[in-house]
């Protein structure tokens, strides 16, 4: 059943490589929808508590580091660009360029997580912890712990997604080095790219909602 033009063997239950590609892409987009809904729960929680305690959000947000958040935003946008270019280079049969771009994307991910690490440890140190563990005394509003619960849950869940994305890009990178992809078959590169862009996009929303509302 395999398409003779393709080095990649099309799975038996598909009639053509196009059908296989279309199916994979649709499956991934559906999965992206579920990711948005997963984060949706947290965004709704955010909306509820922000509409109840806007002045608390205003004050608590000031205790997040806007510079580091901004740096991370730039880093992720750059990584999305390099990821998109990696897909493009693969489609044009330039695996070496694609591999360098993928490596750059992974390094952006590492940078992002490192910055996050320093932000988190600083918050731990100050006692700006979620809910019951909140010990910081610089903010008077009694509901402030809720803001930091949201901060840690939202950025934490996002961070987990960044790590998963980095793992996927690493896997795609090793396969690119082994010459698995070409203009005829690049499904995993494209799908990983879509996933990475979504992870980036979620951060683009998290940054203003958490860091810039103050």
């Amino acid at each position: 059943m395999a398409n003779p033009d393709s080095e990649h063997i099309v799975p038996d239950h598909f009639d053509s490589a196009e059908q296989a590609f279309d199916a994979s892409k649709m499956g991934l987009w559906l999965f992206m929808v579920t990711e948005i809904l997963l984060f949706g729960g947290l965004f709704v929680t955010y909306i509820v508590y922000r509409s109840l305690y806007p002045e608390m959000f205003h004050e608590a947000s000031g205790h997040l580091n806007k510079i580091l958040g901004g740096v991370n935003t730039v880093v992720l946008i750059c990584s999305s660009f390099s990821m998109a270019m990696a897909v493009n280079r693969t489609q044009f049969n330039k695996p070496r360029q694609a591999a360098w771009l993928l490596l750059f994307t992974i390094l952006c991910g590492v940078t992002f997580m490192t910055v996050k690490y320093f932000e988190y440890t600083h918050k731990f140190h100050e006692g700006l912890l979620p809910g019951a563990h909140f010990t910081f005394e610089g903010i008077q509003h009694p509901k402030t712990p809720l803001f930091f619960s949201l901060y840690f849950m939202m950025t934490g869940l996002h961070g987990v997604h960044v790590l998963v994305g980095m793992g996927l890009i690493f896997w795609v990178w090793t396969r690119t080095l082994r010459g698995h992809f070409s203009s005829r078959y690049y499904t995993p590169v494209e799908l990983t790219g879509i996933y990475w862009h979504l992870v980036d996009l979620i951060w683009i929303y998290l940054f203003p909602l958490l860091y810039l509302v103050g």
């Binding site: 499956g27 579920t34 809904l37 509820v48 712990p145």
Partner: protein
Amino acid sequence: MAEHSHHKSYLEEGGVKSWFTTLDHKRIGIMYLFTTMFFFAVGGIFGLLVRLELLQPGPLFSPDLYNKFFTLHGAIMIFMFIIPNIPAALGNFFLPIHIGAKDVAFPRLNLASYYIFVGGATLLILSLLTGGVDTGWTFYTPYSIRTATSVVLATLGVFVMGFSGILTGLNFMTTVHKLRAPGMTFYRMPLFIWAIYATAIIQVLATPVIGITTLLLVMERVLGVGFFDPKLGGDPVLFQHFFWFYSHPAVYIMILPGMGIVSEVIPVFSRKHIFGYKAIAYSSLAIAFISFIVWGHHMFVSSQSPLANFLFSILTMFVAVPTAIKIFNWTATLYKGSIQLKTPMLYALAFIFLFTIGGLTGLFLAALSVDVHLHDTYFVVAHFHYVMMGGTVMGLLAGLHYWWPKMFGKMYPETLGKISWAFNFVGFNVTFLPQFWLGSDGMPRRYHDYLPQYAHWNLVSTVGSWLIGAGMLLMFGYFIASLFKKEKAADNPWGGKTLEWQISSPPPVHNFEKTPVITEGPYEYGQP
């Protein structure tokens, strides 16, 4: 395509080991079937224990033990049986065959979702072994944050099983869109597939929300994040909103596949084209859509605003419209058909009868003022058992009997089938009809004991549960025994027109020797 193939059936190839790594949708369906039916039996035993405690006033078990029994009955039946059962077992087996495909779009993902399901179920069972859960299957906060029982394991189990449901749902949606055989237009798909498709939409769109909800509940207990905990400034009603935003659509994850089976069985055993094909098909999608905007009707007495209550009440009544469309179309299909009362048909008719009662009492509960009286009484328990058991389980049993000869190539015994049906049907009504009276007399649900004036109908109800137990035991017995029969079932014992009946029983590994080309609809009876 119709003649016998000499290809090996999917049951024959490879040893026992090959089952654990199989990518064949049929084998994965069978593994789901056995797993979920096992949980059905376990959940059923807990149900019988609940009824046993309520046999007469006064405690038999300790109240704490009773709380664990009804929690596990609910949690196991909902998350480990009704939600996965029909889509993942019968859907997996028949969806690709019904649309003329060799497999689902992502076979490896399909196997992964099975193992993810088993992993989640294991977590829930672990919670049972480490002290059980006593919150009810709804895990309402703040009690679920405070109780000493293993809420973390149980909710993690629900989270993991939800993930499995999401993957199955997106696999099915992609399969329906991308893998239909030539000529298999949407309007030539069997109605079972429309129902499974509508179910998959809900699974994909609603399940992530229970995912984040259970995750946050775990975080409440582990990290004390406080979103749902009034002590930490959170709002327990927010949890209820989240929970029901998933769990109400989930009710339709449970019922839609059963409706799909009934739409298959009714035309075959009436020897007639289904009446109102498109109406039934689109009503499945309509139910899926409406399911997302009615969750507030679970919270009429949870401090929702009167305006929200009013809107949710009206919206809930809309569900009755597509549901009634189905009921009327099935009835019109029966009209002047040459009806054969085989076991699958008996179960399908039981579905229509019982589900209609379940649906109409749902309207009582949708009416705001009535619900304030009936909320959290046995009336609600009776209502949702009429929908879930009278509906989904009867639909499942219709499908199981209908497709048993296809799945295993062995016929179930017809007479025993009818006897067991009678036990289940009569037993069901004896168990749950009295609960409507109990509820309207004000007996609250979830308590381990009750006032003496409720004793009479509780006794009747418990006796009814024994009838169901006997019927189910008989059914499990003859199904298992039939697997060891020598005699082979015919390829098309019911004279069905859908694609699964055009291939051998049990089906060959690749379903079809040649990709079928479809030229007519699935229910063209009475034509050459």
